[in-house]
Symmetry: C2
Subunit: 378 residues, 2 copies
């Protein structure tokens, strides 16, 4: 069986975890946590980074930081993972779902402004497949209406946006806050794991407090206060040092990882373009303003039947291709709370998008087999 | 320097983490997560267990499960870690702080009933130092008023309560829900980590959903539903498999760990009793209905000055003794929201309690030195 995903190990993970274990500091915010945060800040130009137990938790921190109150509205795409939505629902937000672009599963930037009301507090663009949303449009709207932008950059490590000023900026460095994932299905992994990037530094101090269970423990250890106590809401958002140690081995090898993933992605793209056109299947689209971090190789079939046939044929050849997401505005949990607008593009991706196996250790002959099975389609 | 705490390693942690890494399943709910949960359920008689990224997260799951709504009241001791409180504050609860017992830092069970109002939803007893609260009293009150009981068993692994029926029950198996910690300062550790124990099985199905980000993914993998989606609020409460693998090495050695800790605890107790009496210092108290899991060795000084002198003298002999907690009803965050009642016992423990170094690897001669420095008190 060719799996859909296989976590890649650089070979140093166990070594660094062993080192962390033997330093005798195993709870959060130790040596490896600080190394990972510093590397992330310096490599991508984020204001301040805090390692979290998951991208979900980084989004929850963002929702607390922008002070979401019951009834506040948050605009986000319907075609996304549940955590994008849950983080804000947990604070009492009303979700206002936007449709996806026709040419890409990301949020339709042109549809956002019409969704704004006096209760709107934030826009949460999701950089689907690591491909940038048009951040100039989104940041302009946010500025015009005084909204916060939280980038859901779960899939978007090492990917970029080129703004109309011609400057290339890392995804996650543009909004006020951003959340990354290191789940085992991502380019860079720690099993479960995430990172909050804080670009609007008005949030930096409070973020550290919320991260440390609502205490000013970090200030205490820096000698800024003479005792620490409970000063705010918070949670235990920081992961164990062994998670950070594992992640460090991945960060060290990011260039190699990204190069290999790009090779696999480009092979799919080059080999499947003509076939896809013939069968009215759409290839992944990367706008001029976006880079491609080779997180995912997806296809958009012409209808659900075609997708089912494609998945079944791959499966009968021992190849696992999967689909996701189910439009959140049609989910059992939120359908009754949604305002009733149709979001046809979101529904189309729900029915038609399929992801091909995509991981570092995918061997050349395995990829050739996958491509051959697809090309054999009548 | 003799530290206050030193994480103990059984020697198998790195081995199991290595094994987890090489199984290729690194995200949550893999082989080691299931082994840990099953072991915990079977060893202590919990209804169902779910591994979490922290005890804080287990408490947050409990708050969601009992459906805390803004304005609901939760009764808890003021003398506790902030997470006991934060988990409920995050759901909008009003905290109603109870005082501690005169003979023990745990909640004064006799004070609870007077704090109940029509808005009370839950009682959260904390088994301080792993020593049981009088659960018969608490469960009777809960039943009388239709309240939920969430045991904060952060420190209470492998500790027991003997009820008036003479039956010995594991702490965490008595309330509707319970939360355990595997933070590096606990008897059994995974750096950061926790476990939710579910005894009232009406919560079992929903707990699994909330744990899996509000999706019915677990049901899907068991074949109970044909697709999975967003059905409830939730978060990413489940830790990486490497955390579970680490924890497994600890569970395997719990008997050895507990035996060693008890030896250290008993040495302190036997050597310090006469000295403490002479200096009006109170020794740790274990009621007849409770067992002692040797989580912590604490002393209660006669006043804050005596405590400061004691900590300073230990420090000048390179021994680190620490105090905690600061009464939550007097914290910067909650003081203005507290109803103004004095909680003198809580304040007394805040001022007078001190914890001595207590960990598996504390050597005999180190402990002798600590005791000697204390006994030298004029």
């Amino acid at each position: 069986m060719i799996p859909f995903n296989k976590p890649f190990l650089t070979g140093k993970e166990a070594h660094y975890m062993y080192d962390a274990v033997h330093t005798g500091k195993l709870s959060g915010n130790g040596k490896y946590t600080q190394k990972c945060q510093k590397w992330f800040e310096e490599t991508y130009g984020f204001g301040k980074c805090l390692l979290t137990t998951s991208c979900t938790d980084a989004l929850e921190m963002a929702a607390i930081l922008i002070d979401i109150q019951p009834g506040d509205e948050v605009i986000l795409p319907s075609y996304t993972f549940v955590s994008t939505a849950n983080a804000f629902v947990l604070r009492g937000a009303k979700l206002v779902f936007a449709d996806s672009r026709k040419d890409h599963p990301g949020i339709d930037e042109s549809s956002i402004e019409a969704l704004i009301t006096p209760k709107t507090k934030a826009i949460v663009p999701v950089h689907y497949a690591g491909v940038a949303c048009d951040m100039d449009i989104i940041m302009d709207i946010a500025q015009k209406y005084g909204l916060f932008v939280v980038e859901d950059a779960a899939q978007a490590i090492d990917s970029y946006y080129i703004g109309r000023d011609g400057v290339k900026r890392a995804l996650g460095s543009i909004g006020h806050l951003a959340a990354f994932s290191f789940h085992e299905t991502k380019n860079i992994i720690s099993g479960e794991g995430g990172m909050l990037a804080i670009n609007d530094l008005q949030f930096a101090k409070r973020a550290e407090i919320i991260w440390e269970k609502g205490t000013n423990r970090s200030s205490f250890f820096r000698g800024e206060v003479d005792k620490y106590g409970w000063v705010d809401v918070g949670s235990s958002f920081l992961p164990s040092e062994v998670i950070a140690a594992f992640l460090w081995a991945q960060f060290e090898n990011i260039q190699d990882i990204q190069k290999r993933r790009c090779t696999i992605w480009n092979t799919y793209y080059n080999e499947l373009t003509s076939w896809a056109e013939k069968h009215e299947i759409r290839m992944p689209f990367v706008p001029d303003f976006a880079s491609n971090n080779a997180h995912m190789f997806y296809l958009v079939c012409k209808d659900v039947e075609q997708r089912t046939r494609l998945i079944d044929r791959l499966k009968s050849n021992s190849i696992l291709a999967v689909f996701h997401y189910i439009s959140l505005h049609k989910s059992p949990f939120y359908e009754g709370k949604h305002d009733g607008r149709n979001l046809p593009e979101s529904d189309r991706y729900t029915d038609c998008l399929v992801r091909l196996p995509m991981y570092y250790d995918l061997e050349q002959e395995q990829q050739e087999l996958i491509i051959k099975v697809l090309l054999d389609e009548k």
